[in-house]
Symmetry: D2
Subunit: 359 residues, 4 copies
């Protein structure tokens, strides 16, 4: 592709803003349009981010010929439908995590993109988070020996938008929403070795009035190469977003903390304007973060996807990866429902993971 | 009791040294004797620690009238037999963790001590570790709200003495040896609320040539009051002993790291004489600990037990606690063997926990 | 001395409470009396700490024969007079830092104690702070090579009692009050090598309405063996007491943080009852300390002084050390007044250090 | 300027590599040439970094018309001469720190660039270091109140190239080489408020066989608005580069650590390929850094300078800033030589700062 990659954003919420900010640093692409159904939302977003076109209707945006690639930042239950339409319109597709809400949808998305000859790229930013990229390098260079235990944890006090709390739209709670990060992170660290079994412990502890979904989850994966992985996810941890990982190997151990571990330690009698996502109280001590998007790897991720489209490269994270993650998510909810370790491959016709937990 | 409490040490190994050092700070007790069967070991130990009597035979030591209390620091499989003899001899008894190697033994020990009218005290030092005592105070004062998730982890690169590696003598691997710390710690933090279920993931990863036991374990407990607890144990982590805990509550979260979190950050081109237990390489950066025994709470624990004997008080941690921990350990090995969450109460006639894992 | 050492406390304020708490752990001594002039204060203190005698008059307390040793925890300008009386009464003497308010007083105190045959012990607890004791061991064992730079810093947001703010009674501000800790700490680390020169930068920044004294000070010492030492002191730092030290040597470097570096990292929506001395706001993140007295080394220090009295040993820190510290303090204020490095030995007839700064 | 900015690198050493790497991320500029006198060095560098032209002669490179801007990464004593030639050739100029080696040179450089109508930009990357930019925002937003004390420290175990150790070429030791970072950092944080006085303590401790220059320096600045600033610099600290800063304000305090504070905590039995600049031993514990150039702010700094040239904007850091820093450096060496606080403005005809110290 000689020209810059034309990008269309689908969704104008929290993650949409991150996408828009990320593209400001990418020279080989321009955001040409944003689409969001609620009246006025896309327009306001377009004005704020100086995007030339805005739509409330997906088909209208997909009709724009200069759009080469769309990014789906919509509620989970809409991913599949949007993806199928975009594929049909011949657009390359980036899907925010999780890929969709069931395995049948995942299969249809992968199939549709293959048929349409467009790329299906799965937006797992942890594979681009600079500190985690370094962590993987430490593993790959042998400094830690062979991996024994992988850990990753994401914890905050609950998501932004209402659709996360509604399992009909989200498919599940925190294990679905943030466990999916950990699962792809583990697969990536472990060279896509197949997962052998999944065990999950879930509970709804603090937000019982707000959701039927799990607000805390602990998930244990066993890989075929003998590696164990431990994911911890929470929507009930106060004090700011937490995102950390560990690799325990036969010859070493490494601890990486993306947020608190990169921040300024601050005490303020007046409070800090902004410290970190979901910081809570900032009067007194807080951990003040800088350049969050960069430290998460969002611009790097989008730059990679643009490069894949522009230069016809294979993405680092694909629809197949997103599907594999979804299989683990289903197995996790099955495990939480049965109290048993669930062996993979696991196939379920459930409409969404949550249905396997509280039957 | 008007006089000082007379103490007899059973065992002259690593933990015996900690006991001897701890008693040097306790004014209401004197160590009067040490017993260890290997020829010369007790004598050498007695000389080093200026203990007036030493024995290779238990009965001879128990015959000393001035001994009021014995401390069992022997391999796990000997705890029960020693305890029964000591009870019969009318001595108060402190048993190092774990209490014994099966539930039948536990019952007999409790029964024997009751019958003999002596105290059976269970040496879980985490209930006396100053930083963890403070952690419990934070929970009890309400600063963290109601607990949602408790975590504790102990990791190092493998134990000192050969009997730990031999499951016939130890009863199990790292989940038995160090999981028992976490289990009693959780029970104590959670006000002895009953455990509802146990799930365990175990593996033998690095020390396959050395032991059949688990060298890594992850254990999840569910309590009846809805609290989840996560224990992580390892005998494969290089870089020095790790002992840390977290409380995640509805109103707060607290992180406590007993060793690295209290240490001096040191860089040395020459290496440090001693940094911390099992420190590994100390050329370059290391975390140099101070007053380890005090920071673990060993002298405080023994002072408490002496006070219980001298002033006829109820110990903070009893044989019944040790038995409850053993029940969790059995359930953990059953779970690792079956891949299922195991409900409590759990009764097993297995001779040792390990037998439930690899059948 | 066959019996327990009988102790008399002089002063019932903040430091007096620390003394009383510290002695609860010391078996070879009993606090027999407390003296404080304000009506009712000593009585209340005695009741709280179960001390058998209380006085508002010093002479009456000194008349108690069973008192072997007194501890002076009074405002600085009273140290000398109290010391002279106590020496005359034949009591061994512990003086809280700083020793007194001028060099003439220091000489008279040392002389009087020598003449009376009583010990003059200088209470610099940093020489007993367990983490700093470990730091000195690292230096002494050679792990850090030869020292190049020593650093120590104490910072909080201002002292408890009014007399600290009044330079007539205190003799000076933060450099006098907390710099004296650093100066003795450096001398101790550096094997009492003589100080060659002193430079000081002082300012009154935040508490201008409350004191004429310095509320921030930076002091640089040069030792004859070439070591440089840097002290930083502040009465304006919010967020809780800070006490940390560093040794930079030819072969290594070590960082020790006594408070934040030993604490529990806590987030609370409700606030923590007590986190650390002068913690400020504890809603949100705070650093929750445990066993502060022990971690500062107060009981260890008093135990040492009791041992010196009971067994007629030479104290680790003496009146001569306190005088040497006072000489450095005078040189520091002279330097702040002149903008020049001041060479030692330095003799001044000024009534108090402060007079040399703002003339 | 419509076209991309054409860039010429002067110098192919350590800092030259950082420049070359930085420009790979800048879309509005291309490095068109590199110049370095040693035979073959520029050629090798050009090949490695795919730079189309390479020279051993400055005049030849300056003759290239497509070069709009040069970056001087040469030894300090050559800065002035190169700058004068480049100005005469009509090139915009970025000078690496320090600006030059005496105040006379500084004046001539500023004058020459003014006359030639080219920009003189001073490369102080700390003003672009993302974490420090955030630190300044915290100050500017008022979260910390008014500044009372600013601190910055850079420490490692000694520089790469021989010219740093030779005071004839460098002008001075660590206070010249790294103190200049701190001085401009303080000026920037403090809104370019004028410096009122400078005190400096310098010593040559470890590298006496290698240099006459100072390998340790402590420098205290007083600003006219009452702010105190403390810089600590060392060429003798083992264990990897250290770059940290603090702001102590009337309403808060903030601690920022650029390297160790952003790194992965790693233990490796085998050692890490690369941990951080000058890491020393990496067997055992180390602090593994990621994306160092970005975390220092080098690409951001160069992007800013390119933007200034392309769009004719005023640089954030100018030749005048570089001169002001040089004045502080001279005052620091004067102070180290006299043992007195030196008042600014300070003018000296010394050929280099070092001459004022050891006369």
């Amino acid at each position: 592709m000689d020209k810059k990659v034309g990008v269309g954003l689908i969704g104008a919420g929290f993650i949409g803003s991150i996408h828009a900010d990320s593209f400001k640093k990418i020279h080989d692409a321009d955001i040409l349009a944003v689409m969001s159904p609620p009246p006025g939302e896309a327009q306001k977003f377009a004005e704020k981010h100086q995007i030339p076109n805005h739509f409330t209707d997906l088909d209208q945006m997909l009709a724009l010929e200069e759009i080469d690639m769309v990014i789906i930042g919509a509620p989970n239950h809409l991913h599949c439908e949007i993806c199928l339409k975009a594929a049909e319109a011949g657009k390359h597709i980036v899907v925010e995590k999780p890929l969709c809400i069931n395995l049948n949808e995942a299969d249809r998305m992968i199939e549709a993109c293959k048929k349409a000859g467009v790329k299906l790229m799965y937006a797992e930013e942890l594979c681009f988070t600079p500190k985690y990229v370094r962590l993987k390098e430490l593993l790959d260079e042998g400094a830690l020996g062979k991996p024994v235990l992988l850990k990753q944890s994401e914890k905050h006090d609950g998501p932004h938008a209402p659709h996360f709390w509604d399992v009909e739209r989200s498919g599940g709670g925190v294990t679905m929403d943030m466990g999916c990060h950990a699962f792809q992170f583990f697969r990536w660290l472990n060279g896509n070795n197949p997962v052998k079994s999944v065990y999950a412990q879930m509970s709804t502890t603090v937000h019982t009035g707000k959701t039927r979904g799990d607000d805390n989850g602990i998930i244990i994966l066993e890989f075929e190469n003998g590696v164990t992985a431990l994911a911890e996810e929470s929507w009930t941890k106060p004090g700011g977003m937490d995102d950390r990982a560990e690799i325990h190997g036969t010859e070493g151990v490494a601890y990486a903390d993306v947020l608190q571990g990169n921040s300024i330690q601050t005490y303020s009698n007046k409070g800090v304007g902004y410290a970190v996502e979901k910081a809570g109280n900032t009067v007194g001590w807080s951990y003040t973060m800088f350049e969050e998007n960069w430290n998460y790897g969002f611009p790097q991720e989008m730059e990679h996807f643009v490069d894949c489209v522009k230069n016809n490269k294979e993405p680092l994270v694909t629809g197949e990866d997103g599907r594999a993650v979804m299989e683990i998510v289903f197995a996790a909810y099955e495990s939480a429902g049965t109290g048993r370790k669930v062996k993979l491959p696991f196939r379920s016709s459930a409409a969404k993971p949550y249905d396997l937990w509280k039957r």
